[in-house]
Structure formats: C-alpha cells, structure tokens
Symmetry: C2
Amino acid sequence: MAAAVLIAIDWGTTSARASLVDADGRITGTRSAPLGVQQVRPGEFPQALDALLGDWRTLDLPRFAAGMIGSRQGWVEAPYCACPAGLDEIVAALAPVHDAAGAAGPDIAIVPGVSCERTGMPDVMRGEEIKVLGVLELLGVDAAEILMPGTHSKWASVAGGRIRRFATAMSGEFYALLREHSILARTLPAGEEGFDADAFDRGVDHALRGEGLLQTAFSVRALALFGRLPPGAGASYLSGLVIGEELRGRPLEGVAEVVVIGAPHLAERFERALRRIGRRVRRFGEEAAWRGLWAVHRRRDGGV
Amino acid sequence: MAAAVLIAIDWGTTSARASLVDADGRITGTRSAPLGVQQVRPGEFPQALDALLGDWRTLDLPRFAAGMIGSRQGWVEAPYCACPAGLDEIVAALAPVHDAAGAAGPDIAIVPGVSCERTGMPDVMRGEEIKVLGVLELLGVDAAEILMPGTHSKWASVAGGRIRRFATAMSGEFYALLREHSILARTLPAGEEGFDADAFDRGVDHALRGEGLLQTAFSVRALALFGRLPPGAGASYLSGLVIGEELRGRPLEGVAEVVVIGAPHLAERFERALRRIGRRVRRFGEEAAWRGLWAVHRRRDGGV
C-alpha cells in the first residue's frame, strides 16, 4: 500500500469524514464520525478532529478540510472566494488553523467556500467547490456543467478550470417540506415508499410543461381525489415534479452533458430526468471530494 | 330592515359562517363558529348547523351552503361540476341535504365545487366558485380574471358568465413552510414582523426575473449571510418572492385587470405586486360569497 501524503477531511453540518490519500490520489482508508459542525461546541473542534482521526492523529501529514467547518459556525472562518474561482484562487484563500488546543505539529488548512453574484443576488456554496475541483481532475477536463443534488442542490458551470457561476436550488428541502409538512402529506402514505418510475416520469413531464411548482404541486392532491394516481405512487410523482422543476429552472441550452456528483439514490433520479431531456450524464460519488483535496495539496505543496 | 329571504352559509375546513340575506342581496346579520368540517364528527353536522345558527335555526328560510361542507369529509358530498361552469351548471348540481337528524322543515342545499383539466391534469376548488359567481353579480359583468389568494390561491378565468378554467397555486402554504420549517426560518426572526414594502418589492422583482422559486428562495439566506437584507425585512422579502413567483406562473398577457377576493392583509400584498406588473386591481372581501349564494337562491327559486 502506497504511503499516505495527506489527510483529507470532508466536514459538514451533520457529520465528518476523513480519508488518507496517497501521492497518486488513491484513498487508502476512510473514517467517519457523527461530529458535524452542529454537533461540536465552539472551542472543541481540536478534540472532535482527534476523535474522528483516532490513531491517524499521530501521523505527521498535512490536513485539508472542506465544508461547513469553514463557516462562521465552524472552526475557523474561511471567507468565500468570489467567482471565477479555480484551484489557484482556492489554494490562495486557504485558511490555516492555529489552535493552541489542537495536536501540536501537523498543519491544518480549511478550504474556503465560493460565492457568486447572479441576477443581482449573491449565492454561496461550501464543500461543493472541492468536489468540482476533484471531478475536473478525475475527468482531466477544464470545462463542465456539474450538478451536486441534495437538500440544496448546487449547479456549477466551469470553464477554463474555474467555476464561472453557480446556483443553489432548494429542491431536496422543498421535497421534504411538501412530503412531510404540507397538505400533500395527507395524500402520501407515511414512511418509505418504493420508487415508481412511471409516476416519477409523469411528474417530470408535468413540471417541464412549465406552470411552475406552486401550481403543479397541487396536482398530487387533485390526481389522488379522482383516483388517477396509483396507490403508493404519490411520493415518486412528487419527486418527479420537484426534480423536473429544478431542471426547468436551469439554462441547459447548449449543455450536452451534465456531471452529477452525489449519493446513488438521488443521483439516479436526476440522471433519469436529465436523460429524459436528452442530456448525457456522468456520475461520481464521494471520490470527488477526496480528489479535490488531493489537488489542493498538490497545488499548495508542489506534489510529493 | 328588509326581511331575510335566505340563510347563506360559508362552511370551510376550520370555521363556519352564516349570514341572513334579504331580497336585494344585502346582509342583515352574520354569525360564525369554530365548527369547520375538520371539527365536526360524521353525523353531527345537523347539530353543528343548529349551533352556528342559534335562534336563526327556527327561521323558515332556504339554506345554501358552500365550501368544504360539500366534500367527501363534509355533510353530503356534492360532486364537482366540470368547467365550463356558471350559475346554471352550479344550480343544476346543487346537492340537497336529507337528514333525519336535522331540524325538520327548511331545505338545505350544498353548492358543488368545480373541477377542470389543465395540461392533462385535474384541478379542483370548493367554496371559491361561489365567490366568483358573487363578484360577477356585484360587478354586473360576465367576464373577469379573478384571484382568490390564500393557503391555496385560486385563479379563475371567466368568460360568458362561466368559469372556463382555473388553477390552484399553493403559495400561502409554500410561504408558511419556508417561513416556519425550512433552513430560511433560521434567518427570519420568529413571531410577527412588520411589513417592509421595499423588501417585498425586491422579492417580487427578483422572482419575476424568472429563475424559479427553488433557486430564488436561497437568496433569503445568501443575502442575510452578507448582511444585504435589513434586519426584520426577511419575511417581507420572502413574501415578495413567493407572490412574485405566483404571478410569474400565470398567463396574464392580455389581462388588464385582476379582481382580487380575499382578506385585506393578503389581498393588499397581491394588489401591490399586480400593480407593479401594470395590472389594475379591484378588491372584494367576504361579501362575494354572500352575493354568490344569493345569486344561487335567485336562480333556483326564481327570486322573491
């Protein structure tokens, strides 16, 4: 097994994960802990990191951390890097951690989030920028349209190796709100429900007709009232409505391929919807973040 | 005081109201009770009506009830009347109540809801159809674009005295979900907040730029992160985003005037947004429902 050259840390709101990465960017081990930024009290991040790393904490390797750990509620605030932002800009804005309470020795750098202005409004992401850099490395490209679906989906447009602009779509959160807390919840059986591909596609197609989610959402109820939705298909239909609405809101003219980075259960749905509107899809998972942190290390430290 | 000729009842999900109406359509008294369809057990609607009417229950006058009282969960199901639907179609579909447990004598008729098909999907309303009929009477017109804002806003297009099509926008519910249950709630102070007209307008304008609510909603958080939203203005801004999105989803080309029927606090916001996009507005309140029920009485019973 090749020797690790860095410890890569993906430290989010609800959990933290760390990987050992070798000189070629390969992962030689991964650990995780329920020590998200929300779970750690101010001042206790050094201890949380030790708990996450276990016996890795004695390794004399640089550590790079991305995600909400760099937010105002995190360990050290790493201010947003404004678009256009690529590897150079992000490495230049790394926030070092100088923490007397931390383990002596190893240096820790926190990756900044990225901000942009779009139609006169700001947008932000934190943790997704490192996945974008990772995917560019993995694909060996410097331009891509990248989707990272989730509670707050992020769409990043990359050209010349830099994120030119991006947008946040609160699709995952809208789905959960409608599924659990809205009047539609009465129509949808509680608990888990199998995926109904036909109902999902029907939702996507209806969303793409363009009335907007405020209007299309009510069709979940109206279809159920008239018995026009198969039992157990409502949640899949609603999922299609929300994902279809997300695609409808994106300027995808001229975009032939979308790179989707995310957990399989969600990425599969977006892939299905994207193929439905004629886009090619390439998928990546958690390897994107590790590769991105490795790229940051290489750029800052000049490789091995 | 002119003699009443009917008892008009607006019986919704959470409350019930009744008015005495004279031969000219004037209201001579109104009563209300927290006896919405959700609060009344099956079989106990006769008692609930007696409680609502009080000493009016001995009046030998026809009663007309509109709203969720005609739903499957109500007293007697009054099946939806399909569009195009006007006074004639609605009167022909009145559902009589024959209930041995009810007060003997007076006849009770329940107004049907209305359904339509739009882009291959069904939509329904129940209780709003009577307000549409009432406003046509009050204005003496047979064509109008009518908005009834609320938890589930209804937009009705009327021509030739009949509702040709309508649409439900879940704007009020989306606003409440985002305001109370989403990540944006962390940014917005709890409890009531004064109306900030500038922030509201800014939200309307941003919504009209067309990115869609899934994307624009996140601007509440991003603006707050950068201190670009005045303290206490977040809820007004979000309200503008949601109402602006509702307007954006409507085909209002060629519509010069919108009739808004609703409670003042909400109708005022919609009026403000509609004027912002160059539409004239006429406003009505609860008189619309009473006048609609009076019109139903006149058509069925031939006036006084």
